[in-house]
């Protein structure tokens, strides 16, 4: 499988521009809920999801805009969800932290760090039992690797040789706390290998290398060779929650971010495309985003009578 740079760029650009659009809209208070933006981290979801088929499934985290969009979640429904509208992907029940689009294989996310890692492993068990060769990707941050459920899920997935790719988006921070203040040994890949899981690390967020690694992992999953683990170093350019920058807080410096800004994958891949092709692609994405914002604006809020629907199936 060769990487389609155009498709990867489309995902990168879409995620970047959707997030920037949310930043622009946020001061209007039309998005009345927390947002955990993926700005700076686009390459992980864009690279990994380029290796997936429509029938494959992703489980993300509350910082889930990137995985939702990269897997093909409906953009109109996402924007309407952020606006709290009845046409939102979860009808105004989930919001930014719980985007889901089952038809696109985007499973519900959780605001409780690490929770969906176990769900992803179980889903992989289910897929295999139902006799498909579809695979599951579990996205989580470095903080989730400190939760007990991470270790439990690695063990279970390895024990049952489940078709699940664990992807750690390591942005070095849990809210404002650096990984060096949380983990005694920052040797994640080594730790995972002790479970008998093949694991690798992409240290520079090179989206094409992430895509290649993911393709190899997914191929192994489809062949029933057991779970895989991929650690992708990345960098969060905005505050933990909210639209702003937070260099003024003092827990990290802008200098630390500079290498990541200089190697920005959206810029890099954009420059790899032929200018006219790039312009057409970007114009198409801009049109989709404009339409999605209009769709969200024009959609109705849910009726009060909708409050108690969907508690039970």
């Amino acid at each position: 499988m060769t990487t389609d740079i155009r498709q990867v760029y489309r995902r990168l650009y879409l995620i970047r521009r959707v997030e920037e659009t949310i930043v622009d809209i946020y001061p209007t208070d039309k998005v009345k809920s927390p947002v955990h933006l993926s700005l700076g981290q686009e390459a992980v979801a864009a690279g990994v999801c380029s290796a997936l088929r429509p029938e494959d499934v992703v489980f993300g985290s509350y910082r889930g805009h990137a995985s939702y969009l990269a897997k093909g979640g409906n953009l109109n429904a996402m924007m309407a969800e952020l606006f709290g509208k009845a046409t939102g992907c979860t009808k105004g029940r989930g919001g930014s932290m719980h985007l889901a689009d089952a038809r696109a294989g985007v499973m519900p996310t959780s605001a409780i760090v690490g929770s969906t890692i176990a769900n992803a492993a179980g889903y992989a068990f289910g897929l295999r039992r139902l006799g498909t060769d579809a695979v599951v990707v579990s996205f989580f941050g470095d903080g989730a690797t400190e939760e007990g459920v991470f270790s439990e899920a690695l063990n279970f997935a390895a024990l049952k040789r489940l078709p699940v790719l664990f992807v750690c988006e390591n942005n070095s921070y849990a809210i404002h706390t650096h990984v060096s203040r949380r983990q005694s040994a920052q040797r994640l890949v080594e730790r995972v290998r002790t479970y008998g899981i093949a694991a690798s690390r992409v240290a520079d967020a090179d989206v094409l290398r992430i895509a290649t690694e993911a393709q190899e992992c997914v191929q192994a999953l489809r062949e029933g060779r057991g779970p895989r683990f991929l650690e992708c170093a990345t960098y969060r350019l905005r505050e933990h929650v909210g639209p702003g920058e937070d260099w003024d807080l003092g827990y990290r410096s802008r200098d630390e971010a500079l290498p990541w800004i200089q190697s920005d994958q959206v810029t890099r891949l954009g420059e790899m495309l032929e200018p006219r092709e790039r312009a057409a692609l970007e114009a198409a994405v801009e049109g989709e985003i404009t339409a999605a914002v209009a769709f969200a604006e024009e959609s109705p809020f849910p009726a009060a009578s909708d409050l108690q629907n969907d508690v039970f199936a």
Partner: protein, 350 residues
């Protein structure tokens, strides 16, 4: 023609599992020890041989992850039954049960139901102690999105478990091991019973006596004794605790004007409080009610039999409190109800 025979509750539970696994190959049973020689007190005996190790699956000691994995399996289209030999272990799974299973359907805007059954056993008696004897059903009753059932008879155990496996929602199925040996008529064929109406096990006009789980047979023993002193009880078993048949209970209370709830649990913020509140809200403004509750003492469960005996509610404490509600004072000579046979005769080591 459905054959009626007498079955123990443990056999009724095994029959429900077996029949549902036979009927639907998406059903699977998992949990610590489900395929071991003791087979969850016998309730999974023979299933692994019949349905294979992928459908009757022992698990790592990872209640948190395995509950989450069951949720993932359910999302993918399987129908897992996750078994815990003690309810107490569910405390390790609360995040997945409360934050994920109960909310997935709602948070996803109806896209993602979670058809999951969690079978959890209350381990009263014989020195089980504070972490092996709790009954925590009210914790789950508190959370929208979960259904909770605590059957007391073999028939209701089979019918409720069958219903639970076919239902598309997460269901907490609470068993009491003192009830496992009770026998009763159970049809050999399909039998389903979901929430809707409580069981009326005895008719009477003086007092409504609601028993939960293992307190149901104790309420019946208490009602027998009360009848000998001229007090006739209406004994109800809600079976389903959430959703609860409040109307059914209140219909009886409207008749008797007195309500006593015997729970196999602590009273504080418990199922008994919910049932009493439901009666007071519906009937309290229109008539005078006498209400009472009996359950665990407000302490962790001790191990010594000397203290265990006073920790638990019993037919005797139920009968005394019922007598007080009706007559305004405790029975002068007490009530000569001893410990039930299943508790007296229980032997360990587990």
């Amino acid at each position: 023609m459905i054959e009626e025979r007498s079955l123990s509750q443990i056999d009724a539970i095994r029959e429900a599992l077996s029949q549902e696994m036979e009927r639907d190959d998406r059903v699977l049973v998992l949990g610590l020890g489900v395929d071991d020689p003791k087979a969850i007190l016998g309730s999974t005996r023979g299933l692994a041989e019949r349905f294979g190790s992928e459908r009757v699956m022992d698990t790592p000691l990872s209640e948190d992850c395995m509950t989450g994995a069951c949720i993932g399996m359910a999302m993918a289209g399987l129908r897992p039954v996750h078994i815990h030999i003690r309810v107490d272990f569910l405390m390790l799974a609360m995040n997945q049960i409360v934050n994920v299973a109960a909310k997935s359907m709602y948070m996803s805007g109806g896209q993602q139901p979670v058809p999951l059954v969690v079978r959890a056993i209350i381990g009263r008696s014989w020195g089980q102690g504070a972490q092996h004897s709790q009954a925590l059903h009210s914790m789950f009753m508190h959370v929208p999105g979960l259904k909770v059932v605590a059957p007391s008879t073999p028939l209701d155990a089979k019918a409720a478990l069958t219903y639970a496996i076919r239902d598309d929602n997460p269901i907490i199925f609470i068993e009491h091991r003192m009830l496992h040996g009770f026998t009763g008529a159970v049809p050999s064929g399909e039998v389903l019973r979901g929430p809707g109406s409580c069981r009326v096990l005895r008719r009477g006009g003086d007092l409504t006596l609601v028993g939960i789980s293992y307190m149901v047979p104790e309420c019946l023993r208490a009602a027998e004794w009360l009848s000998t002193v001229g007090i006739e009880c209406e004994v109800l078993d809600p079976v389903w605790l959430s959703p609860l048949d409040v109307e059914g209970i209140n219909a009886s209370v409207a008749k008797t004007g007195r309500l006593l709830v015997a729970d196999n649990a602590w009273l504080e913020c418990g199922a008994s409080a919910e049932i009493v509140a439901g009666a007071c809200e519906a009937l309290g403004s229109t008539r005078r009610l006498a209400v009472g509750r009996v359950g665990f003492a407000a302490t962790p469960c001790p191990t010594t039999p000397a203290l265990e005996a006073v920790f638990y509610a019993s037919a005797a404490s139920i009968a005394s409190e019922a007598f007080r509600l009706v007559k305004g004072e405790l029975p002068e000579r007490g009530c000569d109800l001893d410990m039930p046979r299943e508790v007296r005769e229980f032997r360990g080591p587990f």
